[in-house]
């Protein structure tokens, strides 16, 4: 399963961006020297390629645009490493003008001095065009480095870069640095933080999650984009990697189970089920409903699903309980772990799932948690409703404006 429509590889030189693309989608640019791992990152995060497969990726020769339809729609642009910004055909304004975030990938196992020089020139060029870009630096391929070496590398890169930018008079440019590797969860975590900066509703979501956590005794709550396993919001307590990893693994488990027990028709569709928002009748939660096939008690296609997971890979004994949910159309799963922690997953909407970590003793009041999560979902819906309303309003205004202009034009001609 992947965001499958990454096919539109228009070279940017022919400026044929749809108006809608220009307007509404934040862009996320992957830049860096050649062979630094940009395409691998894109494939692993957004197309579920396994890290080992990325070895066989060919080098990118032209800009690869990838539309991601999810909770927020955004475009990932994968740049070829050898791109020259000073080429006159390279329209910096067109490229950097709309960018939301610029991710610069540095191969930490290589000599990174050249990369730093390129980073510097990129930042200077982009900042001149668009001061609102957020710059993110991925110190990539750190899986080959020792712990000490990692922190030294980051320290060195960070220091050099900020010093150079300060020398260039750009003290205000803020670069965020992440140590990443496609072989573990760090790349997903880093991307989560990058994407979060592009989400205008983040404070609201965070606040909602805070309230949910405080009132339900939840230790940690994540709002996950199910496909990419990026978390788009979490409560304000610090994220430790284990919590993130186990939640992320849970999604894998749920999706695996649902693809085993899901309906065959959906299984065939799973490649592109996020292809388009309009003609997309099934989403991942429908696959969950496939549990009906083996749980007779539920009956009917719209029964709730129960993930009965038996996973021995973590914490020794994962003790699972099928739990009855409210009977509405949503995926839902609970995994109880041997160390007294409970993982609670609930679908929020087509793209998002809420995953909570809580203690077993808190989970005794499951009704309360179910109710609170329900309230949380409603609040989320309202947030999105607002956004949708806003967009329709804007579109209507734009249409009116257009009509008016046409009208005026007619007048002018008449």
């Amino acid at each position: 399963m992947s965001y499958s429509d990454y096919g539109d590889n228009d070279p940017i030189y022919g400026d044929d961006l749809a108006d809608e693309d220009r307007e509404s989608r934040p862009r996320l640019m992957l830049m860096g020297l050649r062979r630094s791992g940009k395409s691998s990152i894109q494939r692993v995060v957004f197309h579920k390629m396994t890290p080992t497969e990325t070895l066989f990726l060919e080098s990118t020769s032209k800009i690869n645009k990838d539309n991601i339809h999810s909770f927020i729609d955004f475009q990932v642009w994968d740049f070829p490493g050898q791109m020259d910004f000073f080429d006159p055909t390279f329209d910096t304004t067109a490229i950097f003008g709309e960018v939301g975030a610029l991710v610069f990938v540095i191969d930490s196992q290589d000599d990174y001095m050249e990369a730093l020089a390129r980073l510097h020139s990129t930042v200077v060029a982009a900042y001149r065009v668009n001061p609102n870009i957020t710059f993110e630096v991925f110190i990539h391929k750190v899986d080959g480095l020792s712990e000490d070496y990692k922190i030294d590398t980051q320290r060195d890169i960070q220091q050099t870069t900020t010093d150079e930018l300060a020398d260039a008079g750009l003290e205000n440019v803020q670069l965020a640095f992440y140590l990443t590797s496609i072989y573990d969860h760090s790349i997903f975590e880093a991307f989560s933080k990058v994407i979060q900066k592009l989400i205008p509703q983040l404070p609201t979501l965070e606040n909602l999650l805070n309230i949910l956590c405080a009132n339900s005794g939840i230790e940690k709550a994540f709002l996950f984009d199910v496909i990419s396993k990026i978390y788009i919001a979490t409560d304000s307590s610090p994220v430790d990697s284990q919590s993130y990893e186990i939640c992320s693994d849970m999604i894998d488990v749920i999706i695996d189970i649902s693809s085993i027990y899901g309906r065959a028709a959906i299984g065939a569709k799973s490649q592109g089920y996020l292809e388009d928002q309009q003609d997309q009748p099934e989403d991942w939660t429908h696959q969950q409903d496939g549990h009906d096939d083996y749980e007779d008690s539920n009956g009917g296609g719209h029964g709730h699903s129960q993930a009965v997971v038996s996973n021995s890979s973590r914490a020794g004994s994962l003790d699972n309980q099928p739990v009855q949910s409210g009977g509405n159309h949503e995926a839902f799963s609970v995994i109880k772990m041997g160390n007294g922690t409970v993982l609670y997953l609930r679908e929020v909407n087509k793209y998002l799932a809420l995953i909570c970590l809580l203690r077993a003793e808190t989970f005794e009041k499951q009704g309360l948690i179910d109710y609170n999560v329900h309230c949380f979902k409603e609040a989320m819906d309202q947030v999105f409703e607002l956004k949708r309303a806003e967009r329709t309003r804007r579109e209507m205004e734009a249409n009116q404006l257009l009509e008016q202009q046409q009208h005026n034009g007619l007048y002018g001609h008449g």
């Binding site: 480095l145 020792s146 712990e147 922190i151 320290r155 960070q158 220091q159 606040n207 805070n210 610090p238």
Partner: protein
């Protein structure tokens, strides 16, 4: 393992009520319980505890597994071949409660009866013991002598608040403390003997929808102006006027995202700092309403902020990205010094009382100490911790000590930065995660926990956990050497006396935390040694491994060869065993003796008698020594001996004998024999099956690997028919770059690795040129036999002059050079003194003086190593000798 240990310790949680009923008499018995808090609290004379006879069994029963587990831990850690069993080993066992067992009569009362009567507002462990008041545990009492008399100690109690607690803050006079949690907002009055609830703000909070709080700070103002500030779980900062009436004075909602930490200025009572996820740090003047505070744009999620205690304007902030930055409030537009402190977010910061040093805890499970006045962005101390710290605070009046609480960890640990690997004290006060700590004074620490309790603990007089670590360790290597350490403890509290000046280059700028100019580090009082105990004849093992033939099929010759090999290695018994095997399984093309059990029929005997005698002469020794009883003609009545010209099938099975033989060797631990025999007999059809053969193979391969006999190990693995063994060398092949001096693989993933350029173990520069001692980048040339390497150019230069290795290892790396040299010398002599007749005199000193005598020093270890070098490189030896002993490898520069 450490984590498991901790889990183990957590699990046998004795409910407070059970602990309260522990019998006093048991507590005086020395090693009692890993939850020393229980016994400690009890020995202080809980009234109920004294009177009741106890269900101690439950507690003791629970303790048993953790004790045994901890002893396992110590055994396991000895297997690291470390001779300084100090820090590393100590840290391994840090979490294991066994070392702390029964150590401490003066510990913290984990119960004190506190939880047993939840609901009553004032619960202390020592309510009725006024006769002991004021004395407390005397400081000079040895911590290793647990309470010989029940001493009630002040400042050791727990108070149940009916809700998980997240933070605490004390009033300026430390008479009251504010504790907050998800649904708790209380102010407690605290005395030496206990706490009582003074004000419960929850009702007011609920009414105003500010029920839970994640952090609380008590303002420096007192009296009618007293204020506390809390961070509501739903966002705003709430200022409570508690001096006059318990109401909300002000709510600050300006932050667009959640607030993570607040901090009052120690100098200006009305200034409050707030750190928020909206990437700002704001300064609020509580006297001025409606005016937004000073805003500092940190451009990163701010997790923690703190005032410098010695300054009015110097603050420090810790970020989500792991950076720490200093800000000057007088210039809020531009941040000052910023440095990368941790991998992952910064969880906690605390300024040293001197105002110069800073302790920080981060997600990378370390506490680091920074010198904020130093230009270098390097930590001066690092303390590895079991989890990431939730709160760290310096101990007042003890410049080197700090306390920390950890995520998902119920203990609070006090560290001395000079001995970072072993906590100074471990405080067991809580049943669940301790969330925050606060030093009341230099001896008393207050903690709050998710187990709903506020606890006070007396740190003074606590057991020094390092004193409980065993100082002696021993480990053995495969050569039969036993390495051991012996600790010469100078008694308890010897820590301060064992400090030595920090080694390394003297640094003029270095300043110790207490203001003196010489940084000190702890040096363990341990001496170590190596003892050769001849338990395993490794030389014979290696000799046999290298020379045994494992070829199947040709049993007779192979057995004879192996018999000779074993004889050479002084393994006489093995030699005989091989000879016996040879006899059993020989299918001889030459006239063979077949010993068969037949019905004693006289005519058969007589027919074979003629040839028997001449045969006996050939194989006399074999038969005599081995199967004498069976082959002697004496037993003619039972056995017949046939001698035939053609090979015949045996009609007598040796199953039992072979089985006995192999089992005997297996019992002796001689897997070498077991495996070699199995391999030699592999072609035999009716060979008995052995359940353990797989184990024999794997342990033999393991042994061979330990002796670095890689090629033999591979040969064994390949010769084995068992699939699991046979595929062993196909599983995953790891090719390590090894250090040329200590032969350890260079692991770049090792936690303390220094990359590819130096060996972690022996701290030597790798791939250095033996001539110029610089690191070789580019083509690395080395001798395949003594494994010393050079720059190509240097090698050429050197070996044009000499045949011997420039390191002085004595190896003739370039023996051809001897010849050339000799020729050259003769040439030159002939040129210089063409008519000198000494030219042909080999005994003339001049003829030899240019050849340095072969080094005769023989350090056994080194010789051994070079032997192995030969053996492991055997495959390439012939090639090397054929062309040149020098190999060239394009060394990839990293």
């Amino acid at each position: 393992m450490n984590r498991d240990m901790l889990k183990l310790r957590k699990d046998p949680t004795i409910p407070p009520s059970a602990a309260a009923t522990v019998n006093t008499s048991t507590t005086n018995a020395f090693p009692v319980s890993p939850r020393l808090g229980n016994t400690g609290g009890d020995s202080r004379g809980n009234r109920s505890g004294r009177q009741r006879t106890s269900p101690k069994g439950s507690g003791a029963g629970n303790n048993a597994p953790s004790n045994s587990a901890s002893s396992n831990a110590s055994v396991a850690s000895t297997q690291h071949p470390t001779t300084n069993g100090g820090p590393a080993v100590g840290y391994n066992t840090l979490g294991s409660p066994g070392y702390l067992t029964g150590s401490n009569g003066l510990g913290i009362g984990a119960s004190g009866g506190g939880g047993s009567s939840a609901g009553s507002p004032l619960v202390t462990g020592n309510g009725g013991h006024s006769q002991q008041d004021g004395t407390g545990p005397s400081g000079n009492q040895s911590p290793l002598q647990p309470s010989t008399s029940p001493i009630s100690s002040p400042n050791t109690f727990r108070f149940d608040t009916n809700g998980a607690l997240w933070a605490l803050s004390a009033s300026p006079d430390y008479a009251s403390v504010a504790v907050v949690g998800r649904d708790v907002l209380k102010i407690l009055n605290v005395t030496e003997w206990g706490a009582e609830e003074a004000i419960n703000l929850k009702a007011v909070g609920v009414r105003n929808n500010f029920a839970g709080s994640t952090d609380v700070k008590w303002g420096p103002t007192t009296g009618r102006d007293a204020k506390i500030a809390t961070i509501g779980t739903n966002g705003p900062i709430v200022i409570w006027d508690i001096g006059t009436h318990n109401k909300i004075g002000r709510t600050i909602k300006e932050h667009t995202r959640s607030v993570n930490r607040i901090c009052f200025s120690p100098q200006e009572p009305n200034l409050l700092l707030s750190a928020s996820s909206d990437s700002t740090i704001r300064l609020w003047d509580l006297r001025v309403r409606d005016k937004p505070g000073v805003i500092m744009d940190a451009k990163d999620i701010v997790r923690e902020v703190q005032f410098n205690p010695t300054s009015t304007h110097d603050i420090v902030a810790g970020y989500e990205s792991g950076n720490i930055q200093r800000w000057d409030l007088r210039n809020p537009l531009v941040g000052e010094k910023k440095f990368m402190a941790h991998m992952g977010f910064v969880t906690s910061l605390d300024y040293h009382p001197s105002g110069r040093f800073l302790a920080s805890g981060g997600r990378d499970r370390t506490i680091k100490v920074w010198d904020m006045e130093d230009e270098k962005r390097r930590e001066i101390h690092t303390i590895p911790t079991i989890q990431y710290t939730s709160k760290v605070q310096w101990r007042p009046n003890r410049p080197y000590q700090l306390a920390a609480s950890f995520k998902d960890e119920s203990t609070v640990q006090v560290f001395d930065v000079r001995r970072p690997y072993v906590p100074l004290h471990v405080l067991y006060q809580h049943d669940k995660d301790a969330t925050s700590i606060l030093w009341k004074d230099s001896d008393v620490i207050w903690t709050v926990s998710k187990d709903k309790t506020f606890a006070s603990a007396l740190v003074k007089g606590q057991t020094v956990s390092a004193d409980l670590l065993p100082g002696g360790k021993a480990a053995m290597n495969c050569y039969g050497q036993l390495a051991f350490t012996v600790s010469t403890k100078a008694g308890p509290d010897s820590f301060e006396r064992d400090l030595v000046p920090k080694p390394g280059r003297p640094n003029a700028k270095a300043v110790a935390l207490d203001g003196s100019s010489e940084p000190m580090v702890y040096r363990t009082r341990q001496t170590g040694g190596v003892f050769d105990c001849e338990l395993f004849n490794h030389e014979a093992f290696i000799y046999c491994a290298q020379n045994y033939s494992m070829e199947a099929g040709n049993i007779r010759e192979v057995c004879e060869h192996n018999s000779n090999v074993a004889w050479q290695a002084n393994k006489y018994r093995d030699s005989q065993a091989w000879t016996a095997l040879k006899l059993f399984f020989s299918e001889m093309a030459e006239p063979a003796i077949v010993v068969s059990q037949v019905d004693a029929v006289a005519p058969e005997v007589t027919t074979s008698a003629g040839t028997k005698e001449e045969e006996q002469q050939d194989d006399d020794d074999d038969i005599d020594t081995l199967e004498a009883g069976a082959t002697k003609p004496v037993v003619r009545s039972l056995f017949a001996i046939k001698v035939l010209d053609a090979p015949i099938k045996r009609n007598w099975s040796h199953d039992d004998t072979i089985r006995n033989m192999l089992e005997f060797y297996a019992d002796q631990g001689e897997v070498q024999m077991c495996v070699t025999i199995l391999l030699v007999l592999a072609e035999e059809e009716d060979l008995p099956q052995f359940d353990l053969s797989q184990h024999w193979f794997s342990s033999y391969i393991d042994l061979l690997s330990r002796f670095k006999l890689w090629s033999i190990a591979t040969a064994v693995s390949q010769a084995c028919k068992d699939d699991r063994i046979h595929t062993m060398n196909q599983d995953s092949t790891t090719i390590h770059t090894s250090c040329s001096s200590c032969m350890k693989p260079i692991l770049t993933r090792a936690p303390s690795s220094s990359g590819f350029w130096a060996c972690d173990r022996c701290r030597k520069v790798l791939s250095s040129c033996s001539v110029c001692h610089k690191t070789v980048r580019g083509i690395f040339t080395w001798c395949t036999q003594c494994s010393h390497g050079f720059h190509l150019q240097h090698a050429q230069e050197w070996f044009s002059q000499s045949a011997e290795c420039p390191t002085g290892c004595g190896h003739q790396c370039f023996p051809e050079m001897l010849k050339i040299q000799r020729e050259q010398e003769q040439m030159s002599l002939r040129l210089e003194t063409p008519d000198n007749e000494t030219l042909h005199d080999p005994s003339h000193p001049h003829a030899h003086q240019h050849f340095p005598p072969r080094s005769v020093h023989s350090h056994p270890q080194q010789e051994l190593a070079s032997n192995q070098g030969h053996s492991t490189l055997r495959a390439t030896d012939s090639d090397a000798k054929a062309s040149s002993p020098l190999s060239y490898l394009p060394y990839n520069v990293v």
